[in-house]
């Protein structure tokens, strides 16, 4: 067996030596044979002839020997490849066009594959990542809600399926004492947080067991970014003290940014990991508290997620019996970490993957057309080879080898295309769409590229290759190499029709997404966000426990200074940035019987300048003024939605409402009605269960609420002139007002809304790019086929012209041929678009994916470009010189 293999390998790799030996051996035989015949008295010439006849054809014997060596299939392949390469080299333009076309199609598929790969296959950067799960509290309204700290401790103690479990919550602190005051992001974590993830610190250590519980030491772990930036990246940071919100903490370690959960989910790693026990103990102790805390766990080895769900389910049931007041309807939701990270991304990525696959198909069809056009020119060569005894199977294999070679070359070049466009692709990926690293050139990616390259080659070559079997030897040779053409037209025409149809579908999809984005960008949200800057503001930690009046005084000082800036056109303080706020309040309307379900409203706490800053439309009454302060009677402004919902036809001005803020104690007067604003990234407003809106004056915040203001409020500024210049001025102004006042999270209102639209915008860019590419490829396809048909009919057209046909007749001839294809393509494409419409789902909002106007525009676009592609060869046909044309044969 081994010997056999060695023999075959030698036959394969020392091919020329083996061939030489074979020739020598047979030559020796002939010499001996001739000598024998001469010795028997034959003349020399006769002896030579007899020797050859007895051997029976040197080449045939050689071929039989090669066969006997058992390397035939591989040698055939090698011959086919060599021959194929020669053929392709002889037609450089054809080869270049085909390879580039395939490279584009394969390249974008490879790039897209790297995205899909990241979300489906690549392991998360942790030890045994499949053991990691996300834990949430299951509340009646939220499937993935907060877990209170006492509940977490009971889950941790009561389970039998977890190796470790931790809880975390996002927060922010003001860092002082290390240069200029700065707002830093924080993750408040329980002791085992890093144990669960298995992440090792860059420096120092992580929290020890029990260290992060309430009453633990004031230690923090800092993130890589803060360490490298503000803390100078020095190794002696461990043991140093930093001041957060006015309190000193000892740095015990530095954590790398890469494996942080926030980073994996497409965000930024926190600057500081703070023990969760440092949270205000009163809040932490409450079993019913919703502090935005979510869990992460590592399953014990061999435990399935179902077992873990059942186990924690048992724990929550016991807790429900033990603490019915808070836990009666509280369960647990457990998701694999991979699901939690990539669950939202996947539908977008898969949809786009379907789109690129379509582009590749179009590219393949183009190349198939090219090959088909060329195989017409080669029919003579093929006929001759068939006549010389090549089997049709052999010819088919030869042609397929050629197109697979094209595919592989396209794939090789496609890797570069992928490299180039994956950078763009990843750069376009919106914040919050999770992704792992950049394009990774690993085995999976290469295997995928190789597989689609070969597949693309086969798809492109199959029809032309199979067609060659039907070549009629006699006719082909007689026809002088032009080839019988009508059936070829049919195959190529079918291809072009399919291409046009697929392009139509892609374009229709892209158009629907573009229209969605445009719709959302231009749809009137009830406010004008252009030129509005938002940022967070926290005051010196020294004010943390100061009396409310001192805080008000400080905020007024800042407000006055900001409003006085020449770059400020209008401004307002606010509890949160209203366009992304999620604050609801329950209501009682005075003088109305209370409805069975207590009504709610979205609530915004804003300053008197808010209406001007956001260009709110005042419908009725007035907005807040400077006089609506803490000394004046409490007032509110409502939106027209609120007015309609609760006051019907009545005039709401002067009416009174109560809120659950003070237990529905004090009546508050309605002084004005403004137009409804679309909340939450526009597309969610219509479906929001709570649509009524309520504005309360910032300065009328009760003292206890005002006491929380130093921790962070929002500021909205309408810039006068350049937004960037206004931001720069504010960045200088705020620290000048108070060295420990910090401005953070500076964004324009546009950026906030764009963030909500990120995934959709990303899909739009990519889909539009793909659709444009598809359109281009299809037009090249249409052009190629018609140019080919015109070339094939040169003689016929020449005769027509010679017989007196006018240029317009010739034009009509070509247009009719092309127009028919176009029309068929449009009809099929329309059918495809109508069928695919329902799958556009999440990407489309406010527009119909099968809107007639859109489809008409798409049809028009396809028609115009396709007609341009038809007219070019038609014009050439028109200008044909009949003498020249008739001489081509």
């Amino acid at each position: 067996m081994l010997r056999d293999l060695r023999f075959r390998l030698r036959a394969l790799f020392r091919r020329s030596a083996v061939e030489r030996e074979l020739a020598d051996e047979l030559q020796f035989h002939l010499e001996q044979s001739i000598a024998a015949h001469v010795a028997a008295g034959k003349p020399r010439a006769e002896a030579e002839r007899l020797a050859r006849v007895e051997l029976g054809g040197v080449e045939v014997v050689k071929e039989d020997c090669r066969q006997a060596r058992g390397t035939r299939p591989i040698e055939d392949l090698a011959t086919d490849v060599r021959y194929g390469l020669r053929v392709l080299r002889r037609a450089p333009v054809f080869t270049a066009v085909a390879v580039i076309t395939l490279a584009l199609g394969i390249g974008i598929n490879t790039a897209m594959f790297s995205l899909v790969d990241a979300s489906l296959r690549q392991p998360l950067p942790y030890d045994a990542p499949d053991e990691l799960v996300r834990l949430h509290g299951h509340h009646p309204q939220f499937e993935r809600g907060s877990i209170s700290f006492p509940n977490f401790l009971d889950w941790q103690r009561g389970n039998h399926t977890f190796a470790a479990m931790a809880i975390s919550r996002d927060g922010a602190f003001t860092l002082t004492g290390s240069g200029a005051a700065e707002r830093v992001t924080a993750a408040l974590v329980s002791s085992d947080y890093f144990v669960v993830l298995g992440t090792a610190p860059l420096l120092g250590r992580a929290f020890a067991r029990g260290e992060a519980e309430p009453g633990g030491p004031a230690n923090v772990v800092v993130g890589e970014r803060l360490w490298k930036g503000k803390l100078g990246g020095r190794a002696d940071v461990v043991g140093r003290s930093i001041v957060l919100d006015g309190k000193g903490y000892t740095v015990i370690g530095v954590m790398p940014a890469g494996p942080d959960l926030h980073v994996i989910a497409g965000g930024a790693a926190p600057d500081v990991y703070m023990p969760i026990g440092q949270i205000d103990p009163d809040a932490l102790k409450r079993r019913g508290a919703g502090l935005g805390m979510h869990g992460i766990g590592r399953l014990a080895p061999g435990v399935t997620i179902e077992q873990a769900r059942a186990d924690i389910g048992g724990v929550t049931q016991r807790l429900a019996q033990q603490y019915p007041e808070t836990n009666r309807s509280m369960g647990a939701t457990i998701d694999p970490l991979r699901e939690a990270v990539f669950g939202n991304t996947r539908p977008y990525v898969l949809l786009l993957f379907a789109a690129v696959a379509l582009v590749l198909l179009i590219a393949c069809v183009n190349v198939a057309n090219l090959v088909l056009a060329r195989s017409a020119g080669r029919s003579r060569e093929i006929a001759i080879r068939l006549a010389l005894g090549a089997s049709t199977g052999r010819i088919v294999r030869q042609l397929l080898t050629e197109s697979v070679l094209l595919g592989l070359m396209g794939g090789a070049l496609g890797l570069f295309v992928a490299w180039w466009c994956s950078d763009t692709l990843f750069a376009l990926l919106p914040h919050g769409l999770a992704h792992v690293g950049a394009l990774r050139l690993d085995g999976g990616l290469l295997a995928f590229t190789a597989a689609i390259s070969i597949l693309a080659g086969l798809i492109a070559g199959l029809t032309p290759a199979l067609r060659s079997r039907r070549a009629d030897l006699h006719d082909t040779l007689k026809e002088g190499g032009r080839g019988p053409s009508t059936t070829r037209y049919r195959a190529q025409s079918t291809f072009v029709v399919c291409q046009l149809a697929m392009t139509f579908v892609l374009l229709a999809g892209a158009a629907a997404v573009v229209r969605t984005v445009v719709h959302l960008a231009t749809d009137d949200p009830g406010y004008d966000r252009a030129g509005v800057i938002t940022f967070g503001l926290s005051l010196s930690p020294a004010l943390k426990h100061a009396p409310a009046d001192r805080i008000r005084a400080e905020l007024r000082r800042i407000e006055t200074a900001l409003a006085a800036s020449p770059q400020t056109s209008a401004m307002s303080l606010a509890g949160e940035v209203p366009i992304e706020a999620d604050d609801q309040v329950q209501l009682v309307i005075d003088g109305k019987p209370p409805p069975p379900n207590r009504p709610s409203a979205q609530r915004f706490i804003v300053g008197p300048g808010y209406a001007v800053t956001m260009h709110l439309r005042l419908v009725h009454g007035r907005f807040f003024s400077d006089h609506d302060d803490e000394h004046a009677p409490p007032v509110v402004v409502i939106d027209d939605e609120f007015a309609r919902e609760h006051f019907g036809g009545e005039d709401p001005i002067g009416k009174h409402i109560r809120t659950d803020d003070d237990g529905f104690d004090k009546p508050v007067e309605v002084i004005g009605v403004v137009a409804h604003t679309k909340q939450w990234g526009l597309d969610r407003d219509d479906t929001s269960p709570v649509r009524a809106q309520l504005y309360q004056p910032f300065w009328q915040l009760p003292d206890d609420a005002m006491a929380g203001a130093p921790d962070g409020i929002a500021v909205l500024v309408r810039a006068r002139g350049d937004v960037a210049a206004a931001i720069a001025t504010e960045r200088e102004l705020i620290p000048a007002l108070g060295p420990e006042d910090v401005m953070f999270n500076v964004r324009t209102a546009d950026e906030i809304i764009a963030g909500y639209q990120g995934a959709r915008r990303f899909s739009m860019y990519v889909l539009v790019a793909f659709a444009a590419l598809a359109l281009l490829l299809s037009c090249i396809g249409v052009y190629g086929v018609l140019a080919y048909i015109v070339a094939q009919r040169t003689t016929e057209i020449g005769i027509r012209i010679a017989l007196g046909a006018r240029a317009s007749d010739i034009l009509r001839l070509v247009l009719r041929q092309g127009g028919r294809l176009l029309l068929l393509g449009l009809v099929l494409g329309l059918a495809g678009a109508l069928a695919a419409g329902p799958y556009a789902g999440a990407l489309v909002y406010g527009v119909s994916p099968t809107d007639p106007l859109t489809l008409a525009m798409v049809g028009l676009a396809v028609s115009l470009l396709a007609l341009a592609a038809i007219v070019m060869p038609a014009r050439r046909a028109m200008r044909m010189d009949p003498m020249q044309a008739l001489r081509t044969d």
Partner: protein, 116 residues
């Protein structure tokens, strides 16, 4: 072909060429031409070997490891490819020869039986 009209020689039954080659080589190292001459001689010119089929057979046997080849000078000082039997080839020869005798004996039995 020359010999065919004057003196019709026996066609080789399928598969027996290998046996003949192995047997011939069991007597000593030979090149292709000598093998064909030798078979002709020993069979008293009764067996006609298609020279064209000899070489593919040699290459196949070499691949199977039953014979091995070396290049060296021939009696008239010309480089030639010499084949010799390997140990595996010797075993194969024994097995094939045994098969052959069984076949011949069986065929003879049948022929003798039908004669009676």
């Amino acid at each position: 072909m020359k010999g065919e009209t004057a003196n019709r020689k026996l066609d080789l039954p399928q598969g027996t060429l290998d046996l003949l080659i192995l047997r011939t080589l069991s007597l000593g190292e030979q090149h292709g031409w000598a093998i064909s001459e030798r078979i002709k001689q020993v069979s008293r010119d009764e067996l006609q070997i298609q020279q064209g089929s000899l070489y593919p057979a040699l290459h196949r046997l070499e691949r199977q490891g039953w014979i091995a080849a070396t290049w060296r000078a021939s009696e008239n000082n010309r480089q030639a490819k010499y084949y010799r039997l390997t140990a595996a080839g010797r075993k194969q020869l024994e097995a094939d020869a045994h098969e052959w005798y069984r076949l011949v004996a069986a065929v003879e039995l049948v022929l003798a039986g039908t004669k009676r």
